[in-house]
């Protein structure tokens, strides 16, 4: 939308048209600007050497990008690379496992009639309301009694259970998998496991992608669970690692530059993944799911 457009509209358009076209576009663009400004800032700031960070205009690009990247990957014997791999491990494995567990549970809740179904379903619904994070401390105590606290498992296992993922899968299985198709497969002699993997899963793929993305982002962004569970810095995910950098860096410009460069690097893959997977999202599931 060019700057010349307002004047044109004002003279030609009716009163309704003017308010109807320009204002919404401008308000939305302001919103977009607000959302992009922090990202733009971190992109620019990561190019600044520690000296430039506090001395040059904040949106003026600096000359220190390569130096910052070198310092970041050298920090603590390559800890940043480990944190990134850990985040990928927690979020990737956790989200895949969570999607599979949720899809199986959602399929069973939607397509079978069995005693205890409502009890299980309402327990899961109640789980949506419990802030998972308030459970982090008792989870830590339990896992440390089992000798698992501090291990990769201590972050992975609690991330797999997702009441909301199960709930979404149930909504999606109920809508996407016709009972007649299941019945036809059953008549053809397919086992229930085969019906699930060959008939139901292909139909549930869009819903499963949504659950996967929600879980991936949720685990990738999680802070308190790994913060409580882990003590070995080499097992930290990016969020906890960057936090320790920042907490150490108070007043130290060189560590600030590292934290900023790390922040820049940690958002790029996720933003790229999000933009790529955006079209596969089935978020109407989420909004449509809460009827009645």
């Amino acid at each position: 939308m060019s700057i010349a457009a307002p004047a044109l509209d004002r003279t030609v358009g009716t009163r309704k048209d003017r308010g109807g076209r320009l204002l919404p576009t401008i308000v939305l663009l302001v919103g977009a600007l607000y959302c992009l400004v922090a990202v733009a800032w971190v992109l620019v700031a990561s190019t600044k050497s520690p000296g430039e960070l506090f001395s040059t205009f904040t949106f003026a690009p600096g000359t220190g990008l390569l130096e910052n990247l070198g310092n970041l990957f050298a920090y603590g014997g390559g800890q940043f690379g480990k944190w990134a791999l850990n985040s990928l491990l927690y979020a990737g494995v956790g989200a895949v496992a969570s999607t599979v567990v949720s899809a199986m549970a959602g399929f069973a809740l939607a397509k079978y009639d069995f005693p205890g179904r409502n009890l299980i379903f309402y327990t899961i619904l109640g789980g949506v309301l419990i802030p998972g994070i308030t459970l982090a401390i008792p989870q830590y105590l339990l896992l440390s009694n089992l000798g698992l606290a501090g291990s990769y498992w201590s972050v992975l296992l609690p991330s797999i259970i997702s009441p909301f993922g199960i709930y979404l899968s149930r909504v999606y299985a109920a809508a996407a998998v016709p009972a007649e198709t299941i019945e036809a497969a059953r008549i053809d002699g397919a086992t229930e496991a085969r019906i699930f993997t060959r008939v139901a899963v292909p139909m549930m793929i869009p819903g499963m992608v949504t659950v996967f993305m929600l879980q991936f982002v949720g685990i990738w962004n999680n802070f308190l669970l790994p913060y409580i569970m882990l003590s070995d810095q080499n097992r930290y995910p990016l969020t906890v690692g960057l936090y320790t950098l920042l907490a150490k860096g108070s007043g130290e410009a060189s560590l600030y530059s590292l934290a900023i460069t790390g922040a820049m690097l940690s958002i790029i893959p996720l933003v790229a993944l999000m933009l790529f997977l955006q079209r596969f999202w089935k978020l109407d599931l989420i909004s449509g799911g809460l009827k009645g």
Binding site: F57, D113, G116, A179, I260, S287, G288
Partner: protein, 323 residues
């Protein structure tokens, strides 16, 4: 479920499910769903129900000196509601709820308000550049809260803030983003920034699900865009609004990462700034796990109660609107 005999219950419900009554299907159907559910139930029990039970158990325990005089031993014993009384009478814990309320009263209305506004604008037929704006506003969802805090923190910090740079260039002082009382909107802004896009997409998707001919007939009847938005769109998408409201409420009550990450830059953020920070301090700095458990139970219970109240109120209102 555990007390009932599954086979008997299945037999009782058979008449309701004529299609699954097959000579081989009968037994299979009674076991198969449990097998599909087994991993979920196992994880649910281990990482949800048992921790809840354990937290409740711990919250009634306490370390007390048992026995008299020099022979007294510190032992974990049942102390009734002592921890709960200690929690609700702890001025720090109570004050952290007060700060949470101020934060939430800024963060939740602005997040939902902007999300609804942007969604309605995206849905407006004459808006231009919607694809760009939609993607741009959604991007912060992909940014971890800790990283968002780090980025905004530097944009608040007087020495690196572009906003303070501008005010100083015009002869003013730096903007005191990280000092009270501006700290509250500054922290809330981080979660608004991170939350608007996701909520906008949920609301927008719901708006897309409304058949367009409803709007057309309203427009023929002479309704303005505002009237269509207020009287038709918003009531029709109320389930999506309830859902986003619920998530925002739950998210607000468990806010932790943002203030914790901002604390190294903002001395005004104490160790007990929000309830979860108080709980963390009690559990790990003071080693008072029973007190932390009692506080956790209060927070979790409060969340459930607040969620149910929200669901009840909004359901009534949505019902009233549809009449």
């Amino acid at each position: 479920m555990t007390t009932q005999n599954p086979a008997r219950r299945a037999a009782e419900s058979l008449p309701n499910r004529p299609r699954t009554v097959r000579t081989t299907g009968r037994r299979r159907v009674s076991v198969v769903p449990y097998l599909f559910l087994a991993p979920a139930i196992l994880l649910l029990v281990v990482f949800l129900l048992v921790p809840i039970g354990y937290a409740v158990y711990l919250s009634f325990q306490g370390l007390r000196v048992v026995g008299g005089g020099a022979f007294g031993k510190r032992q974990q014993i049942f102390v009734g509601f002592d921890n709960y009384i200690a929690a609700v009478t702890d001025p720090e814990f109570v004050a952290s709820f007060g700060r949470l309320a101020v934060y939430g009263l800024i963060a939740v209305p602005f997040t939902l308000g902007f999300a609804l506004l942007f969604a309605l604008l995206l849905d407006h037929p004459r808006t231009r550049g919607t694809r760009f704006s939609r993607t741009a506003i959604f991007i912060p969802y992909a940014v971890p809260g800790v990283v968002a805090t780090l980025m905004w923190g530097f944009m608040y910090l007087p020495s690196t803030s572009p906003f303070s740079y501008l005010t100083e260039a015009f002869g003013g002082g730096p903007i005191p983003f990280l000092d009270l009382p501006w700290l509250f909107p500054s922290v809330a802004n981080i979660s608004i920034w991170g939350g608007v896009g996701f909520n906008m997409i949920i609301i927008y998707t719901a708006l897309r699900g409304v058949p367009a001919d409803i709007y057309d007939s309203a427009r023929i009847d002479g309704a303005s865009d505002w009237q269509i938005a207020w009287r038709i769109k918003i009531p029709l998408i109320s389930p999506a609004l309830v859902l986003t409201g619920l998530f925002s409420l739950i998210g607000t009550l468990q806010v932790y990462g943002e203030p914790t990450t901002l604390a190294p830059m903002a001395p005004a953020i104490s160790q007990t700034w929000v309830p979860l920070m108080t709980i963390y301090r009690d559990a790990f700095t003071r080693d008072d796990l029973p007190l932390a458990s009692a506080s956790s139970v209060i927070l979790a219970g409060g969340t459930v109660v607040a969620s149910l109240v929200l669901l009840k109120i909004t359901r009534k209102r949505a019902f009233g609107d549809s009449r």
